[in-house]
């Protein structure tokens, strides 16, 4: 059945980890079988998985990619969601000559029911390669490889039959992503899924129609553990936090000390780490040294706590996040292209995140940032780079938030302060002739 010999790729079928090569071969065999039986009238080349393996084998041999730049393809009225892709060896691999990617918006937290995902599979088997990414790096369901005439058909079926839309690409708001949050995690300080869904709906226009200098990513982490990596990967990162006391259950603390409960929720169970030592493992590792354990009692000086999550992660049955919950907002994270990697920089130390007023406070911050960035940002400049070029204080002003010592690690190292005329008594307008009356030339 295999059209192309793939001796190099075949070596990736061995070994314990799930083999993508075996899986593509399985898909190729199933398509050939269904085509032979006349079960499915495939709308793109039946053998495209074989051609995909063929072109990949060629790259494994010659050490270079065989995909060209995307062309302008998409669905009517959208400027994103489809990435055009063409093979640079179309004669040898006609099944993947035109092989566009479709990004489908994933549900927040990435829970699925089998009927929905099964229907996506049905569409994609009929109209595409049958190959996917679950999920792309930004979070979308990625449907990997179809032809231009199928794009509107796929979009029609997704929107009409499955009530789901495309994701973002290009200089758009990219598909926002959230950790599982409150759905299955006791650390979530706000409802990440609801905020993610609400903002995604609010900003559909920004997601589908490019109007930004470059891409813009929202990511929502429920707590400082950061399971969706928002602090490293999103222009606008919302991380859950609290500002009152960690709730302590002293009886459960004793159960951890006594070894009745597995420390670190069992995460270290496989190592020879010995008995749980609350002083070495909690007190001594606290980054702000605000934990004491004396006479069988754990005390936390909450005012000094920096909410790193370590003690809570280590004794989840004894320590719980506070009750006065909200989120911290950080801006400008990105990978190195172009001006080097950037971590999110803290903009709002604490904001209440509630669905009761439609998340208006968060939206006000976002819209202030966008108004400024769309005006001041250069072509292909991420928010973090605009911040570096024009300064954190400029962002703070644009976002309409209060200046706060928490926004810096430490104050500036140089005295080059960009004073404004209105900040200086008497302003900057002076008369040189008056000056010369006091100072001879």
């Amino acid at each position: 059945m295999a059209q192309h010999k793939t001796p190099l790729l075949d070596q990736l079928e061995s070994g314990p980890w799930p083999s993508f090569v075996s899986d593509i071969k399985q898909e190729a065999a199933n398509r050939a079988d269904k085509a032979a039986k006349g079960e499915i009238d495939f709308q793109i080349a039946v053998d495209c998985p074989e051609d995909l393996l063929g072109v990949l084998e060629l790259s494994f041999t010659d050490g270079e990619t065989h995909w060209k730049h995307g062309g302008i393809v998409g669905v009517f009225g959208y400027g994103g969601g489809v990435i055009g892709r063409y093979c640079d060896q179309p004669q040898a691999f006609p099944g993947v000559a035109h092989f566009h990617t479709v990004r489908v918006a994933q549900p927040a937290g990435m829970f699925y029911k089998s009927d929905f995902l099964g229907s996506i599979c049905d569409i994609w088997e009929l109209r595409g390669s049958g190959l996917t990414n679950m999920h792309g790096s930004t979070g979308d369901i990625v449907l990997l490889g179809t032809t231009t005439p199928q794009l509107e058909e796929i979009f029609y079926e997704l929107t009409h039959n499955l009530n789901v839309d495309l994701g973002g690409s290009g200089s758009n708001l990219r598909t926002p992503a959230a950790c599982m949050g409150e759905s299955r995690c006791q650390y979530a300080c706000y409802d990440t899924q609801e905020l993610c869904y609400n903002l995604t709906q609010e900003y559909q226009d920004e997601l589908h129609r490019p109007a930004f200098p470059y891409k813009f990513k929202f990511k929502f982490d429920g707590c400082p553990n950061g399971c969706v990596a928002s602090i490293a990967r999103s222009d606008f990162s919302v991380i859950g936090t609290w500002r009152d006391e960690i709730r302590v259950d002293q009886k459960a603390v004793a159960a951890y000390v006594g070894g009745e409960y597995p420390s670190n929720a069992g995460a270290h169970a496989g190592g020879n780490w010995g008995k749980f030592d609350i002083k070495a493992e909690i007190v001594d590792l606290c980054p702000s040294q605000c934990v004491r354990y004396e006479n069988g009692k754990l005390e936390i000086n909450d005012k000094e706590c920096v909410r790193c999550m370590h003690c809570i992660n280590t004794m989840p049955r004894a320590l719980r996040i506070g009750n006065d919950r909200g989120a911290t907002i950080l801006c400008g994270a990105k990978a190195p292209i172009l001006d080097g990697p950037q971590m999110g920089s803290l903009l709002v130390p604490f904001i209440k995140v509630g669905a009761d007023n439609d998340f208006r406070e968060v939206k006000d911050v976002i819209e202030g940032i966008w108004d400024w960035w769309m005006e001041a940002g250069k072509n292909r400049e991420r928010l973090g780079e605009t911040m570096k070029r024009l300064g954190m204080a400029t962002l703070i002003k644009a976002a309409g938030v209060e200046v706060d010592a928490r926004q810096v690690q430490e104050p500036r190292h140089n005295p080059y302060i960009f004073w404004k005329a209105e900040e200086v008594e008497g302003g900057w307008e002076r008369d040189i002739n008056e000056y010369r009356k006091r100072h001879q030339r």
Partner: protein
Amino acid sequence: MAFISSGYNPEKPMEGRISDIGPRHYSDFLPPVIAKNKGDWDYHEILEPGVLKHVGNSGDVVYTVRVGAARLISVTHIREILSIADQYCGGYVRWTTRNNVEFMVTDEATLKALKADLAGRKFAGGSFKFPIGGTGASISNIVHTQGWIHCHTPATDASGTVKATMDEVFKEFQSMTLPAPVRIAMACCLNMCGAVHCSDIAILGIHRKPPMIDHAYLDNLCEIPLAVASCPTAAIRPTKIEIDGKTLNTVAIKEDRCMFCGNCYTMCPSLPLSDKEGDGIAIMVGGKISNRISQPAFSKVVVPFIPNETPRWPTMTKIIRRILDAYAKNARKYERLGDWATRIGWERFFEICELEFSAHLIDDFRDPAYYTWRQTTQFKF
């Protein structure tokens, strides 16, 4: 093949058009026990590698079995996942941000049957379909990019390097013996769709030859000002060239300024830079995202180049193994890889991991470079 219409009418694209509806609401897909206890979970425990138990304040319990998966998966494989979800989990299933799949059940008998079923399934080629693991102080699945299978800028393959690496660290995926979680990420070029800049161990595709210039086509394919503006080191300038008696607009490149980012190629297809000898892999280590104990940190380049040794990149996996073993042997409990290296000093890290330190590893890109140079007399011999 006969064209099958979805109902879309190309003559009238706006007729009955539905757009701007966004994703499905997550509540359509929450398993009943998850929906019921949302926002009211009490605690969790990892019962064994890959198996989590969450307990609600209601007293409800949900068991989660986490299994590894390739990021590139077929509809055949997804349907197998869905049939397992139908058989054991009421039709519900979840993906993690690291491409793992999670099956949730509410009683121990089903949990036991589910685990046995998952562990027994294999692909025809012999690899596991659903290896259980990826929790706690383990190596979880690798987040990664497309690579040679579907991208125009890669310097290496993604699925191949990931498969080779996960085969090498499979034991650590299925156990919880490390000092802390080790997060591995893979990106096939400096664009880093996989955002490997904050991972404990990062596999990064890099180019080492400047772009070639396809003068004959450049002005037809590219906006020259955009190509010029795309270069972060201002190495590209507009110029003219004579070919077959015709004067063509094109660009010139100051090659000694090139840092091989490929940004110009993204803007201009007439500046390709992929090359068998030029392309390969850099290894970065010591990044993290979590705020636990120490602050989030960037990954640092510790191996500037490894050639693309297809199909299994043995030099790369050997180096990853060496770093991992040194870390596992020497780091303290809860210490992430980067925290360990910082504590012992990076000079010691290179010594213990038997890695060569070269001038390539001294940062010389703009202001942040200065903050990585040593500005103290405190160092180790």
